[in-house]
Structures are given as C-alpha cells and as structure tokens.
C-alpha cells in the first residue's frame, strides 16, 4: 500500500484527525494566551469533524456524519464568538489576555 492510496483511505483520515486532536490538546496546555487556547479548541473540533466525515464516507456510506459535522461547525462558531467576547472583556478589565491572570473568582 503506497502513501498515495493511504492518503485517500480511512486510516489516512483518522491519522490526520488524531494528530490534529493532540496538537490542539497540546496547544490548550502549552499556551498561556487565552486566544491561543481558543485556537487549540478549534483544532480539536476540526479533528472531530474529520473523523465524522471519514466514517460517514467509508463505514456508514450515508450523510448522517455530515449533518453532525454541520452542527459541530455551527457550535464552534457560536463558541468562538462568546469566547472572544469574554477575552475582550477580560482585556478591558485586567489589561491582559493571560489565562493564568484571570483569577478574579478565585478568592
């Protein structure tokens, strides 16, 4: 099985999805910037979308996975809008976007 056939197979899609998921997880852990954490979350959601699309083509051979992906994309858009509004609010209050500094509710 050469690499070109591997790229169009289910395994190729799943590998790209797994790599994107763990890179997103690493971004969530590694970044201090709240916007960087948001970028990691977007990567994780995209990885889930890839898996749904791949299984919908190669296993189910139906469009249900594509509909779930549609809902994932819409939820991600709503989540990004609210998260960025919170980040801008935090910046206005504390002059920082460092996730470690957002400790107003800690004490």
């Amino acid at each position: 099985m050469n690499i070109l056939d591997w790229a169009v197979s289910l395994e190729g899609y799943l590998c790209v999805g797994a790599i994107l998921f763990f890179l997103g997880l690493a971004a969530v852990l590694y970044r201090r910037n709240a916007i960087g954490i948001l970028l990691g979350i977007e990567l994780i959601l995209n990885a889930a979308s890839i898996n749904f699309i791949a299984f919908s083509k190669y296993r189910a051979v139906a469009i249900d996975g594509q509909l779930v992906t549609l809902f994932i994309i819409l939820i991600a858009a709503a989540e990004a809008a609210v998260a960025l509004a919170i980040i801008l609010r935090l910046y206005r209050l504390r002059e920082t976007v460092d996730a470690g500094e957002a400790s107003i509710m800690r004490n």
Binding site: A7, V8, E11, A26, L29, A85
Partner: protein, 172 residues
C-alpha cells in the same frame, strides 16, 4: 481516482498537520492564527475528497471567513502594537510533549493497524458512488426531517450566543 488527485489530497493533509504544528508551537500568536486559516483550508479539501462538498463550503465560509477573521480581530484588539509585545509567554514544553507521545502513539497505532485489519466488507464502488453523488438536497431534507430538533436547538443556541456576545463585549 487518478494519481494527481491523490497527490492533491496528500498535500492537503500535510498542510493540515504542518499548519497545526505551527498553531500549537509558534511563539507569535498572530502567526499562529494565520496558520490556523491554512489548517482549516486543508480540512476543507479533505472534506471535498470525502464527498462532503456542502460541508466543505460551510467550513470555508464559517471558519476561514468568520472564525479566523474574528480571532485576528481579537489578537489585534488585545495587543497594541507598541504597547505589548506580540510574543506569547513560553511555558515549559515537557508536559505537552510527554502527553503527546503517551496519547498520540496508541491513537495513531489504533487507527493505522486495528481499524485497517478489521475493515468491514463495503464495496468500493458503493463508496465511490456515494462520494460522487450530490448531497445538498439530501442535507436540506434531513435538516427538516430526522434532524429537525437539533436544527431548531442550534438556532436557539446561535441566537443566545449572538445576544450573549454583544452583551459581554459592549462597553459598560
């Protein structure tokens, strides 16, 4: 599928992975956000190859046209050019890398070896016919049929997110 088309898909997958590496590890958050744009485009190409043409269009419109622009706006609003350095504060890399190795290796192994060996008997002609057929009408019918309840729920969610975002971001 011809060899040229397969090469394009392989390049798109490589674009996805390399852009995602930049998103995770690039010290400059603005560059990371631009790299995320290319990762989204690569994912859209992968969707086209999996027969999800409509979803690929939605991906380009919502992610590339919407979310990335929103993120870039947020980066530029929160980092004034002469006030704060754009550089992200570096944390220790050891925890994410150890986690990556511990979790990624079994996941990739499982998707490479076990799923490939346990493949069900689905005719390749059926998969190819599914990938080549038009999906937009089917998706529209499903949204107003079996998926009506999630469709309505997501409209309420989007309305709530819209109002909530405006309420949070408004001055005073």
């Amino acid at each position: 599928m011809t060899t040229g088309l397969k090469i394009v898909l392989l390049l798109a997958e490589l674009l996805c992975v390399s852009s995602a590496i930049l998103v995770t590890f690039h010290p400059n958050i603005l560059h990371a956000a631009v790299a995320l744009l290319f990762a989204f485009l690569g994912v859209a190409v992968m969707f086209v190859y999996a027969g999800a043409d409509f979803i690929a269009g939605v991906q380009v419109i919502v992610y590339v046209g919407g979310v990335t622009v929103l993120v870039l706006f947020a980066v530029m609003l929160t980092h004034w050019l002469y006030k704060v350095t754009l550089r992200d504060v570096r944390k220790k890399l050891i925890v994410p890398i150890v986690l990556l190795v511990i979790l990624l290796v079994p996941a990739v192994y499982k998707s490479l070896v076990e799923l490939a060996s346990s493949s069900q008997n689905i005719a390749p002609e059926r998969v190819a016919e599914f990938a080549g057929s038009a999906k937009t009408a089917l998706i529209g019918q499903a949204l107003l049929g079996n998926y009506l309840l999630p469709f309505e729920a997501i409209t309420i969610l989007l309305l709530g997110a819209l109002v909530g975002a405006v309420g949070l971001a408004r001055p005073k």
